[in-house]
């Protein structure tokens, strides 16, 4: 039987078909992103790209480089650049651009490094083994971009910077010749330091004041990736143990964080390590009192970041818990306390790299770790906690309000990293 053209057209074009409801994406339209607390760094990867990137499983995958080789010593690395990649001003990407962008950043971390650039191939030569180079190159600090005469970045990403008012506003426009395919959106306006929640996408900071949200807004949370912890130096070991035992995380999570946070007992969250549950410990005020019963403790100060109401609330709560155990803590916004509250952001899905970054923040030596060996990671993390210099308190997600006209949000955010993936979302007309 032959399907006549008229029959096909009649069937496929009838308005009675529910084609309008299908989730096939649409091109065009603009969105507004209001960021009050989250930094502009979450949109940087929309403009600038790296040689490689970490996927959502924490594995390195090709990005601007399509292939790489290294010698057995991991001192000499050769990268082949993706062909037919263009900067936003139309200039084709080549190895000289990559070398110019990478060398200053690589030298900050690795000291002496030389680059040989030819066509689409760049060879990096180090004077010592660099086994973690790929993880380092996946960091947004290693993005390949140029700047124009006004200092605006010219990258290769799915969006180009249209206008840029530092600290206030970034206007992004779809890059028609993007190697990965033009974004669905035509443009995006990113308002920085916004105090309103009227954009299509806006961050919802953790704060003591509750915000009234517009109707029909969907709340979306990223995986938890910010650690709030208590850090101290030269605290008596028994006092430290007692303080750690006295902290009751449940009210902090349920009341202060409005149930959007997770209790932290390890440095890496469970989704990243898979073993964080092994560190779980219930508060034990009686044991805390017993530990310090023979000590003569002087009052200690607990510093929290000035102008951070959420951290102040947590510090006050910890001081209450500590008082119940017989430890006097005075929260203060002034720096220099014996104890301090810190916010450390987990920047990637590479557990080994994140653990080493935290070790550096604590002034501890870096270890040779692999994200594929969880046992090794656990032992390193256990050792860091045993230094009695840090008590993890809770993990926070980024929380955003998403307008109903935004489609494909959840799937788009699986694009890796913790940036806002606007390149795969689309909007109703």
């Amino acid at each position: 039987m032959k399907l006549h053209a008229w029959a096909w057209l009649a069937l496929s074009s009838l308005p009675l078909f529910p084609v309008a409801g299908a989730t096939r994406p649409r091109y065009g339209g603009a969105v507004t992103v209001d960021l009050s607390f989250v930094s502009a760094g979450v949109v940087t990867p929309l403009v600038e790209e790296t040689l490689v990137r970490l996927n959502e499983k924490g594995e390195i995958e090709p990005f601007l480089a399509t292939a790489w080789q290294m010698d057995p010593d991991r001192k000499r690395w050769r990268f082949s650049l993706r062909p037919k990649v263009f900067f936003h001003d139309g200039e084709p990407l080549n190895a000289s651009h990559a070398a110019a962008a990478l060398l200053p950043e690589l030298r900050k971390k690795y000291g002496d490094v030389n680059a040989t650039a030819g066509g689409q191939t760049i060879v990096l030569q180090f004077d010592r083994p660099v086994p973690d180079l790929l993880t380092e190159l996946a960091n947004v600090r290693m993005a390949i971009f140029r700047t124009n005469e006004k200092g605006m970045p010219i990258g290769t990403g799915p969006f180009r910077v249209d206008t840029w008012e530092p600290g206030r506003r970034i206007a992004l426009a779809a890059f028609e010749d993007y190697w990965g395919g033009r974004p669905f959106l035509d443009s995006a306006i990113v308002n920085l330091g916004a105090s309103r929640s009227t954009g299509d996408i806006f961050d919802i900071p953790f704060s003591s004041a509750r915000r009234v949200l517009p109707e029909h807004i969907r709340i979306w949370e990223s995986p938890v990736h910010e650690l709030i912890a208590l850090v101290g130096d030269n605290v008596h070991p028994l006092a430290w143990q007692a303080l750690a035992l006295s902290i009751d995380r449940a009210p902090i999570i349920n009341v202060l964080a409005q149930k959007r946070a997770e209790a932290a007992f390890g440095l890496l969250p469970e989704w990243l390590s898979g073993y964080e549950f092994l560190f779980t410990a219930a508060p034990d005020v009686a044991r805390a009192k017993q530990l310090i019963s023979q000590l003569r403790l002087t009052p200690m100060t607990l510093s929290y970041p000035a102008n951070d109401g959420f951290m102040r609330s947590i510090a006050e709560r910890i001081a209450l818990n500590a008082r119940d155990a017989g430890i006097a803590l005075s929260p203060t916004p002034n720096p220099g306390g014996a104890l301090r509250m810190v916010r450390w952001t987990i920047e990637s899905t590479d557990a080994a790299a994140e653990l080493n970054r935290m070790a550096a923040l604590l002034g501890l030596p870096e270890r040779a770790l692999s994200a594929t060996r969880p046992q090794e990671l656990y032992e390193a993390e256990r050792a860091m906690l045993d230094t009695q210099r840090i008590v993890p308190i809770l993990f926070l997600p980024d929380v955003y309000g998403i307008a109903p006209r935004i489609h494909n949000w959840d799937a788009a955010q699986k694009g890796g990293g913790f940036s806002l993936h606007l390149e795969n979302i689309w909007v109703d007309k």
Binding site: K2, L3, A7, L11, E56, D177, E270, L278, A351, D410
Partner: protein, 321 residues
């Protein structure tokens, strides 16, 4: 990393635990599952582990001074088996990543039949059966598969270089041609052969795409300056009605759940499009729905957000009982 069956994972973990114990050893076993692994599978793993522990000389008994806690956990890389043994003052842990094999096909509905062809992480734009070869069009290549033991097994790959970057929502079409096949993607047309050599030659072009292999008059065209497809006709695909003379259209629509589509068959009754089947709910959005070269079949590609894979299937329509 190679996939480990449940038995393999049980054996590996049992060996790790056993190597840390002094033999003969008797421990009590506590077991917990912190993941979305179904309880039945979790219980099966526990049984497999107990059996393997026994094989290595570790007895399981209640109320022992030595307690073995086994947890099925999960991290960003996949499942993680954590064994923790407490012996008076000594504690040790063993961790084993468990790379489970992919789960099998999901259930099919009665009226619309679905036959899974292949699944891959790269988008599938179209499928074409050429003699005994299945060709799969992806954004960067065409892969060929041959049936081997009831499954499509890879038999060849031909890379392709398009005249311009593909759009973010890539579409493409494979069509039979004398002596081989043709490929249509936005801004590029290619010709290829499977025998004697699997090879493809492409040139820039904006040829009209054939929509239906059995109707040469149904064509559509790519709007290159906007990088988008003209029209929404590809959300429906005509298919022969096996139960009465005429045609049906398989139509994709929002499945009522965020980013999940459904497929439903429609027929024309008194000039109105009327549902002819129950909807077939899909695990994600439809990314391609094309009439196929085989009468009575339609090619369907769905992106599954849970696995991140594109699932390419052939849909058919069977008479309801």
């Amino acid at each position: 990393m190679q996939a480990q069956t449940m038995d393999t994972a049980g054996t590996q973990l049992a060996d790790l635990i056993s190597s840390r114990l002094q033999h003969p050893a008797t421990v009590s076993l506590e077991f917990q599952n912190l993941t979305a692994l179904p309880p039945a599978e979790s219980s099966s793993f526990r049984a497999a582990l107990q059996q393997e522990l026994k094989r290595t000389g570790v007895e399981i008994a209640g109320s022992q001074p030595e307690t073995l806690r086994v947890t099925i956990s999960e991290n960003v890389r996949g499942l993680l088996l954590v064994a923790w043994l407490s012996q008076s003052d000594v504690h040790f842990g063993e961790m084993l990543p468990w790379n489970r094999p992919a789960s099998g096909e999901r259930k099919r509905l009665v009226k619309i039949t679905l036959q899974r062809m292949i699944e891959q992480s790269e988008p599938v734009l179209d499928l074409l059966l050429v003699d005994s070869e299945l060709l799969v069009l992806s954004p960067s290549k065409v892969s060929s598969y041959r049936m081997d033991g009831g499954k499509w097994a890879p038999s060849g790959v031909a890379g392709v270089s398009w005249a311009r970057p593909l759009p973010r929502d890539p579409r493409g079409r494979l069509e039979m041609a004398p002596g081989g096949f043709r490929i249509f993607v936005p801004g590029t047309s290619c010709s290829g052969t499977v025998q004697p050599d699997f090879k493809i030659a492409c040139k820039p072009g904006n040829d009209a795409w054939p929509l239906n292999p059995r109707d040469s008059s149904s064509m559509m065209r790519w709007v290159t300056d906007r990088n988008v497809m003209d029209g929404a006709a590809s959300e429906g695909s005509p298919i022969e009605n096996p139960c009465s003379p005429g045609w049906l259209v398989l139509n994709s629509a929002d499945g009522g759940v965020e980013d999940r589509d459904q497929i439903q068959a429609y027929e024309m009754v008194d000039g109105l499009a009327t549902a002819a089947s129950d909807p077939l709910f899909l695990p994600g959005p439809v990314t391609a729905l094309w009439p196929s070269e085989t009468p009575g079949q339609t090619t369907l590609v769905v992106w599954n957000p849970k696995t991140g894979n594109y699932e390419a299937s052939r849909l058919g329509v069977a008479c309801a009982e």
